[in-house]
Structures are given as C-alpha cells and as structure tokens.
Symmetry: C2
Subunit: 199 residues, 2 copies
Amino acid sequence: MEKAQIGRPREFDAEEALQKAMVVFWEQGYEGASLAGLTEAMGISRKSMYAAFGNKEELFRKALQRYSEGTVSYIVDALEAATAREVAEVFLTGSVRANTRPGCPSGCLGVQGALAVGESGRVARDVLAEWRAGGQEHLRDRFQRAVEEGDLPSDADPDLIARYVMTIANGMAVQAAGGATREELLRVAGAALLNWPPA
Amino acid sequence: MEKAQIGRPREFDAEEALQKAMVVFWEQGYEGASLAGLTEAMGISRKSMYAAFGNKEELFRKALQRYSEGTVSYIVDALEAATAREVAEVFLTGSVRANTRPGCPSGCLGVQGALAVGESGRVARDVLAEWRAGGQEHLRDRFQRAVEEGDLPSDADPDLIARYVMTIANGMAVQAAGGATREELLRVAGAALLNWPPA
DNA sequence: GCACTTCTGCACCGATCGGTGCGGAAGGGT
DNA sequence: ACCCTTCCGCACCGATCGGTGCAGAAGTGC
C-alpha cells in the first residue's frame, strides 16, 4: 500500500478510510455495499479508492484483515488462555462483545459479510468461509494441545469441540444481527459453557 | 393467487415456479438473486412473474412461506414432542437435515437469505429477522409450558433456553453454508444436547 | 362465431452497478 | 525554478438492476 515517496502524497489517511469501508461492509454485506456508499463513507473519490486499494474485492479483503487485527483480536488472547475451558470462555465472551459493540454494526463481518450471494459475490463468500474455517482450525489445534497436555480427556475430539464452540459463536452472530442484546448473548454463552467438555 | 376462472389460464404451475424461486433465493440470497436468474429458473417471463406474484419482495415472502411449510415443517413435529428435551432434539436434528439436504442449497434460507444487506434488501432482512424471532417464540412458549408441567425445573428460564437452542440452530446454518457435512453437524447437535437443561 | 379476458414474449424504461480516461492541480527531489 | 510523479474531481463507459407498455396470441363463456 506504500509504494513511493516521490510525487504528491495522498491527502487521506488510508487506515482511517479502510476502517470506514470495513464498517460499511459489516453493516451491508459485500453485495449490499455499493462503491458509491463505500467511497462516500470513506470520504474519498472512486479514483482514489482504486488507486489505494485495487478494486472492490481487494478492498473487502483488506477490510477483513483489519477486522481480524482489530475487532476480533480477542481470539489471540483466547488461544493463549491457560486451559481449554478458558479458551472457550474468552473466545465466546469476546465474540459477544464484538457482536454487540456500541457504535459498530451488530453481528460479525465474517458471518454476515457474504453468506449467500450471487455471481458477483462468490469470491467474497469463499474468502469468508475460509476465514471462518481458519479460526476454527486455530481452536482445534489449541484443543488438540489441551488433549496432549491432559487438560482435556484423552478421548476428547478436538475437531468436534472446536466446531461446537465455533457453531455457538456463529449462532450468536446471527442472533446479534437479529437484534439480540449483549446481556442476552452473554447468558447464552454462559449456558453453552455449562457443558464442558462438550463431548 | 387464484383470482379468475375466465380468460386464458396460465400455462405454468405456480407452486412449481415458486419452488424454483425459493431455491434461488436460498442459494444466492435476496440481493444476490436477480430477476433474470429467478425467472430463468422458474421457466417463465418477467411479465408472468409480476402478474402471478406481485414483485420481487412479494415473491420472496411467498418463497419463505413455502420454505416454512415445506423444508422446515419439522418444527411442528418438534413442538409436539412429549418432553422439552425431545423438543430440542427433534428441532436440532431436523435443522441439520434441512441444512444439508442433498439436491438443495446448503444452510438455511431464513439465515442466509438476507443477513446484512443494502438499502434495497432492508425489507427482506426484516422479514427474515421476524421469521427467526417467530420460531424462537414458539420454542419459548413450548418451554414455558414444560416449566408449568414440571418437565423443566421451576426456575428454568424458557426465554434463555429457547434462545440457546435457536443459537445452536443458527450456528449450524452458518456451518452448513461453509461446507460442514450432515455427520459433522449431527455430532455438534449431539454435543449441544448433552447440556440439558442448558441453564 | 363472437366478445372478453388474460397470458406471454419482446423491447424498453430510468437508475444504478463496478470500473476508467482524461486533464488540471499540487506536492517532493534536485 | 524546473520536472516528474501522483492525486483527484468529473464525466463517462457498457452492463445490469428491478419493473413496465405494448401488441399479438390463446383460451373460456355465451
């Protein structure tokens, strides 16, 4: 994104513009977000957007990356928790907070950004599916380690446990998109954690 | 939909066409489904579609109604089950089967049909949110009855239990949209049901 | 056979989609 | 001061969006 020091420097803050674009994608989805709406929110012209980010798909990819590093950075903390139970707890409560953050759209960009789409959204849909699968894989690896460390029973299935936890998170994202409050979702997360290990 | 017996009768089967439209909405979402794609799948012209169904929004509403009466009719069976535990079990396993039906799109129309959308999809999004809330309400009423009948502990919270069950179902719909198999999801449902009552 | 109604295919509507070509303005290096 | 690069606002591109007007064809009741 930074390529030259010579010439007229850009007048806008790329990170700030990307943040605004991320919010629009988060709220309206990949297909629902138009170039006009994106650039208006970003405060720049179409031409500047294309020069700085490539095209709509690339902008979406970069917005998702920013989302990963910012909004959902709690997953890093979760994976570093001491026990498998705490991993699940930090992950789920972090999800709830991210899905119901005041001033941000409800729900999760990684879920509602592109779930079912037409031809033009295929790439975005696949990018998000891969993104979710990647998160689930990190959880699975962590639970696998927990099994090896004796933190989980030796016959526990890390794949199933990771999928179970991710399913709860995905479901809460849908609930948040439908208007569920932080308190309601925290209680759901609490209920899901009563069951541990879940297999 | 049936209004006159005089005049030239329509040449296509409205129910059959609606079924095809439902599948397109299911697969591509409300915004992703174009009139061109819909009418092509339905095998009729734009004009015939408008005459028979009104407009795109009305077509979507009628497709959702057909989805309710067909694909997700298992919810009726679930609500009639003898115990709250069985209600949850029939509901969740029914969800898994509906989300992974061979020959149908993966996932749930009620979830992926319109989760995050632009201006033009607002109505569809709200229709679906209300649809999901309605299902959850039915579950809550059933669990409320279970409390009154002593089938659930007297301090159990029907609202929380219904939201918990619906969250699992919503999450499995996202998982299915991402490619999870029926077997994988049945194991998740089984794991979720180990935890009963979930509060 | 006639009148009446409705169906259907085609072309077309204005609006918007994602994406660009152009030309002037503006900053940095030397 | 010069040059060179980059930025940026505007107009515009073909394609597609949801939705319609028109006219001919076709079926039903009398």
